[in-house]
Point group: D3
């Protein structure tokens, strides 16, 4: 199942985040009701081999498998797709040239230059995957720098870029603000609105990283097509901290 099926229902995809390099942790997450789960090869403690285990675990359910790659590199983008990712989020797309490299890596000729060899994808998504691949994959360019904001329309206009994914922390840093989950600063909110508006103008998808269901809901209501909440790592930390605090609390 690709993200397109969720979007066909005219709703935002609720996306979970995976930073722990273990298949069982991913399998637990896959049973909690997310529309999609993103294996984070950038800031997660995850490499390709872990990603395969995690994508396999996601594959025991109907959750849409997504990968955030560590960097703009055709090799890992293609390996992620071959391993079964149906969407790729690529960090730091700061120029139209960056966007073209990403787009090129995501689809087979003639739309792009993806190399042929969908080794796990053909099992995970059916023997007809090669024919459907160009239609069912989604390429997200991360917009997370001042530099990217300046060329946002060029990035959005790039053929093969299906959407943008807002990275609030890095965007804040490059705008001279502190990284912060679920920002309320006017500058940040304006940036989010602007990105969303330009994406819609170009007929592209908009996605955003958030730190809570409430913020995510607000963003989905605004029109974002995919909203990310939390991560396996954060749920462990928060859940454990809460129990420890409750136990240690003076009555």
């Amino acid at each position: 199942m690709s993200l397109n099926r969720i979007w066909a229902e005219n709703r935002a995809a609720l996306n979970g985040w995976l930073a722990i390099p273990d298949g069982f942790a991913s399998e637990i997450m896959a049973h909690q009701g997310w529309d999609s789960l993103t294996v984070d090869l950038q800031h997660g403690v995850v490499d390709y081999a872990a990603a395969v285990r995690m994508l396999t675990a996601i594959g025991t359910t109907d959750v849409v498998p997504v990968v955030r790659v560590p960097w703009l590199d055709p090799g890992i983008i293609m390996k992620s797709l071959d391993a079964g990712a149906l969407a790729v989020i690529c960090p730091m797309i700061n120029t139209a040239a960056d966007a073209r490299v990403l787009a090129d890596a995501m689809r087979y000729a003639p739309q792009g230059g993806r190399s042929y060899g969908p080794i796990r994808a053909s099992f995970a998504h059916g023997a007809d995957y090669p024919k459907r691949a160009n239609e069912i994959v989604t390429a997200f360019a991360m917009i997370e720098t001042k530099q990217a904001m300046a060329v946002l329309d060029d990035i959005l206009a790039t053929p093969g870029i299906d959407g943008v994914y807002v990275g609030p922390n890095d965007l804040a840093l490059t705008l001279g603000l502190a990284p912060q989950f679920d920002p309320t600063h006017r500058t940040m909110l304006d940036a989010f609105d602007h990105i969303l508006a330009r994406a819609k103008h170009h007929g592209k998808r908009a996605a955003i990283h958030t730190g809570s269901a409430g913020y995510a809901k607000t963003m989905a209501t605004k029109g974002f097509d995919l909203v990310t909440v939390g991560s396996d790592a954060r749920f462990i930390a928060a859940g454990a901290a809460a129990e420890v605090a409750a136990f240690r609390a003076r009555d």
Copy 2:
């Protein structure tokens, strides 16, 4: 740091539980304020190699490393100690003979028959570990069947058994009740009280598995020396489920 240090402060140890076979997940847990963390080789998705990674991660903090072994088997008990566990929880100690096997595996001669070779423990706990090992390790016999209840005093009287660890789920099953976290059934509560009382009578430690800080606190107040709450796996499931539900909720 062994459990004895915590107990020297006249308080119950707050123990977390690790079921995910990943060092980073364990490291997150180790930073949340637990007194000890138990690597669960029995019902966790964990084997010896994962346990080493997890114990290493715990070793980046002062949290006391504990292992629950998969079964009463001197080989894995000794390997856990060699890998740096300072306490071992052994499931299904149902007879005095079981207790003697456990006790024998936990300490070097003349107290027991532990084989010499503390390969990681000597790094993790200091070059003088071999001399101190018999003093700083803790052997917990799990009391979790009707059969064990019938010979509880024999188990508690076994030299080298430092304490008992109550397994409510299996105890419930063998008492004809459904497994349940934090039971309120009279039969269960009576069993807990009985075990605690007999342990104290024998001058041994009593520990118990719980599902919430509140229940754990009640047990600690009763006099249990170590109380377990939650697990990394449960925190992921609960945290994710809560966020998904919050997002999906109609306002």
Copy 3:
């Protein structure tokens, strides 16, 4: 899906064999039409951690997950069930006492002494797994020695033993014959017939290891309920050897 569902269709289950400790290899196998796949922890190059990866891969399909444990040991039998195996094949069940140990490890009280903690099984087979577990698991005792043949009825009469699994190679060795795939020796064929007949007499299942679809089919026709053919390792060896031979052949 358990083996019972296949048997409800009044046909033999076609079982594949997994000796390579890799999730992707298992996933390939899981897409080839087998009814069940057995992760071989005994003679396969497989340990528990690999088994989890392999069971997860099988879990991306409807194939029934089975584990052959390395030896009669309640610890690994229970860990296999917790990891999602719906059937366990245990080697070298040579006495009724062996059979009782196996049966005891397979089911929760009051039928047996399986310890409670179905960590992956509850995700893989549904939240109601704990209630259904005793019904949906299958315990196979391997009959593979002269000694076992002598007490076959005692083994078959053991409550909780759901069936026997014939190991032709070890049986041959203990009967003074050379190990051989798909034996035609009268002694072996008589043994197979005898085991099958006694199993049916006791209302238990009979399964057998074979080396080819043809032999397996013959056995299924005789009345065996589960027949194993080949293995991932054998398919690599045979497929590669055939291609190399074809290339090297003089025309």
Copy 4:
């Protein structure tokens, strides 16, 4: 043993392909009579750590170890050589500049810019490996796009490029044809002939990926110096599918 030794016998090297990230699977392959085996880091489910295990397994035999890298990246090319690969196949060499980057990464100064540190190669290929390395390694540039065909002579003329490796699937895609094993389309066959002829003209090696021993033999007869057939993953799929079909067939 390098590929040069096989070529010194005036015959084509028969190359097998490894897509399963497991040492034992590779070791099985290494005993089936191949001249060389290629660890596929591009479309195989393989990363560097798996490659080391696989190269070690190949190293238990005399089979020549080859690596296909995931992308044109000096880091992984050099790590593959350090890990013991004696030949490197690099995908998507589409320009003379690409070819120069590949060539530069393959050999020590003054021929190239390979960084010094042959950590496993010095054990696998002898203490004199550093002195012999530039002679015994083979750099294959993959020719698999229309773009590459247009500058084929420039690529072949690049010093340090020892040969070209034809990738039929990607070549087909960029020529507007469907990817297909063992193509018979005139356009493809002409392309193969052209590449072979130009390689020979430049005194370079030509290699090609095929799907069967028969096609490979035809290519070897034409003059290709290395022909690849099948893969561990394909042998599992084909072998299992054949046995399942044979069992399910109505007689």
Copy 5:
């Protein structure tokens, strides 16, 4: 190559020890001139999966692969043999019954009860391995307790026990002495002499663990058939400590 080949040269085998669970570390060791290398599953940080990687690495050379199992358990003994170990050292053989269990697990019927399935051994040691296995494997019973000393002749007289392996540390502990490498205490030296003499009397092999080449040489001169020196872990610690000390030393 089995230990018998070395002994056919009328000399003691020089055995190295592997405690680090990594194939490359083992491969380095395998190139240093040892006759045999022992993968230590007992006190090494090693489990079965690591052992396979380590045995594969040893298999790139002619060094004889040995495994010390974690405990007397037929499952892991047989898995070690299947994985290619040609000798097994089993700790804590303290009774004749223990010795019989070990012996039984080491050889196929009719000599013993080893289960058939030499999955890696058949590649590592040749297709005729099954026929030769009973001849080429070596079973070492560890003599390392006072209890074992008391029944030494019974252990040595057990058919299928090929030799004894002296564990000085555990022996010291049970004799009331401190564990110590290369002991000079009369009690220990007498014990060594006694074990050696009784082994020779029974026509069995004698082996011993030492901490230095000098002590090992003395033991070999006395008549021990296999002498162990050092370990990968000890070489790292000693080598690093020496360099650090040299650097930090005031001139």
Copy 6:
């Protein structure tokens, strides 16, 4: 603890080297008295997943964790920092442009373009890591080619480059000399002196790779700020070779 703390003591940091991809091997090293340990992702048999295990093991001590990345690639540089490395050594910085890419990847805006997500670093180095990160990390540009020597001042003048790390082997190769540990050739010594002098001139740190404590001490005395000696892999090889030689020596 960062390298700055050691340098605040006005002494050279003594750096050890890790080429074996195992946490326990690293943990042994971390207890031998080094100031810092470098996980070598370039010529070590190490990838990112191993690096995490190794950095975790180092994190059980106060040793400063350093990573040498495989190549100039922002993705792996940032992943190394996120995983807890406090210094990064980047090979083959041959131009000022290379130096700028390295510097940019090492620090958050506005000093650089490091992407935000210090997943393990925030546990390993404290919750205030994000604020302190730009101050406590160290970027070493490897100077190891003739080409780099020609633009040494430009590299040293690059903002965000904290120091240079001399790679003697590659430098020797590009200067037309044989790679050699601890060179005495005039050309090499002059190069070392020149690099050291220019680094000091620019107020930057200078570091160098050596093969022995003696040479390292000489370099530290000259003024190098960090000196590397040996590696886990070399200590195994040297220690084992010495013991084997001692045993085999004729008296």
